[in-house]
Symmetry: C2
Subunit: 267 residues, 2 copies
């Protein structure tokens, strides 16, 4: 199924039951995902069918970042309390999350940072380095191409594409921009696993269709549009306007009436 997702965290645009062959992307958040995991980082063969809830997956990435920072500082062990604080979550939530990956902590002690890093990287599939194609090198795409975010572990931008002939041939961040019509060759030659759409809204669906036709089944969409994709394609969406509007909603709620029985707290 497909995932149509609002970043955001949060985020959070749900799926829809099927109608024809093509349906809306399923919500990334909300459903647990069956996962076959090696049960230990030692080379044992036992495999356990586990379920990692969507909400947990999103947080694992956060834990991973916090753990990497700890590892750099030479920290060897963390308690759930410490790591939870660093990640901004409740410690019980963290323990529950980690329990979905198996038991890797030591009671009375905590978690071994290195072991946990490896375990999470494995779960998220970050041992491979997935090739990313970025379509649309306008304002935002240009910035994304040079942004450090992609060079994080597990990904590399392998190709830049644009529909504008004037931009084709331009060199950005060491890559030459190719025409979007070359997508089929680019995808197969470079083994593209993830497509990032940073085009204007009106072009996004067409680009998305092209990506899907080329066999790309994971898409990150920065264009302010709902993408329609076939089953089996995951779409996540990052939408500035929506984030701002959500903040606006809460901002509005903060304004206290003058004689003020203020709204209790904000939460």
């Amino acid at each position: 199924m497909t995932d149509q997702h609002a970043a955001t965290p949060d985020e959070v645009v749900p799926g829809e039951p099927s109608a024809g062959g093509v349906r809306r992307a399923r919500a990334v958040i909300g459903r647990a995902v069956r996962s076959t995991l090696p049960s230990r980082s030692t080379g044992d063969v036992r495999r356990v069918d586990r379920v990692v809830p969507e909400a947990t997956v999103a947080r694992l990435a956060v834990y991973l970042r916090a753990l990497s920072a700890l590892a750099e500082q030479g920290v060897v062990t963390v308690s759930s309390e410490e790591l939870a604080t660093a990640a901004g979550v409740n410690s019980a939530n963290l323990r529950k999350d980690l329990s979905h990956l198996g038991s890797y902590g030591t009671r009375g002690v905590g978690y071994d940072v290195a072991v946990l890093v490896e375990r999470i990287e494995n779960t998220l599939g970050l041992t491979r380095r997935l090739a990313v194609a970025l379509v649309g090198v306008g304002n935002l795409g240009h910035a994304l191409a040079g942004y450090g975010g992609f060079t994080t572990r597990g990904f590399h931008i392998a190709a830049l594409l644009d529909a504008d002939p004037a931009r084709v041939g331009e060199k950005i961040a060491g890559l030459v921009v190719r025409h979007v019509d070359e997508l089929p060759e680019v995808v197969s030659e470079l083994d593209i696993a993830i497509g990032v759409i940073a085009t204007p809204a009106h072009a996004a669906q067409a680009v998305c269709d092209q990506l899907v036709d080329c066999g790309v089944t994971s898409i990150l969409n920065f264009a302010p549009t709902v993408l329609v994709v076939p089953d089996g394609v995951d779409v996540r969406k990052v939408d500035l306007a929506i984030e701002l509007q959500i903040l606006s909603f809460h901002e509005q709620r903060k304004i206290r009436p003058i004689g003020g029985s203020a709204l209790e707290g904000v939460s």
Copy 2:
């Protein structure tokens, strides 16, 4: 929820119960928010205390965009089915969402597009135009400054700031970059309601603290860091690396074993 939130939906990094005075940002997604609403777009005085769930708020912004497109096409009425399709959600979900704003549909007919637009804009607080300050005009910040996303209804970028003296004075998108130390004056002079952090990770917490000190209580964070903020401050986060890692997780799950009892679907 403090919204420490992944665009994405997913996002979806929860808050944490208090510990000292300063706690983690509360999760934006997950808790309903009490909202005092005028009950009709007619000028009647009746006010109803309603609750709008967080998940609903996030979707209202999506509905709004779809409705605007419909309005431009001259469409006067939509059914929940049509609008739900355009927004990529289940129609029952949409109806439930809208029911939180009151009853604005007509049975047997559908919803009046214009009425619904106004109703949602009101709920999201988009009648005011909130002033946004963008801190960090590096790669990403530069792009955001020029990006159309902010000029969406309800917002305008009022100030650009950076810590790098070499960048101060530069003119971007019609605005002169000011030094981040001028934040207090900038915030009060321009009545900044939302701070956008597009700095490197290591600078983000300091900038966040400055914003909060200046009285800004809504923050959109593009830096890959968990921000710690006092109660009452909302943080939403857009995190590229996390989005990619979530896609990676699902990508990994798609790979079928060769003799393959494939994993059934992906969901």
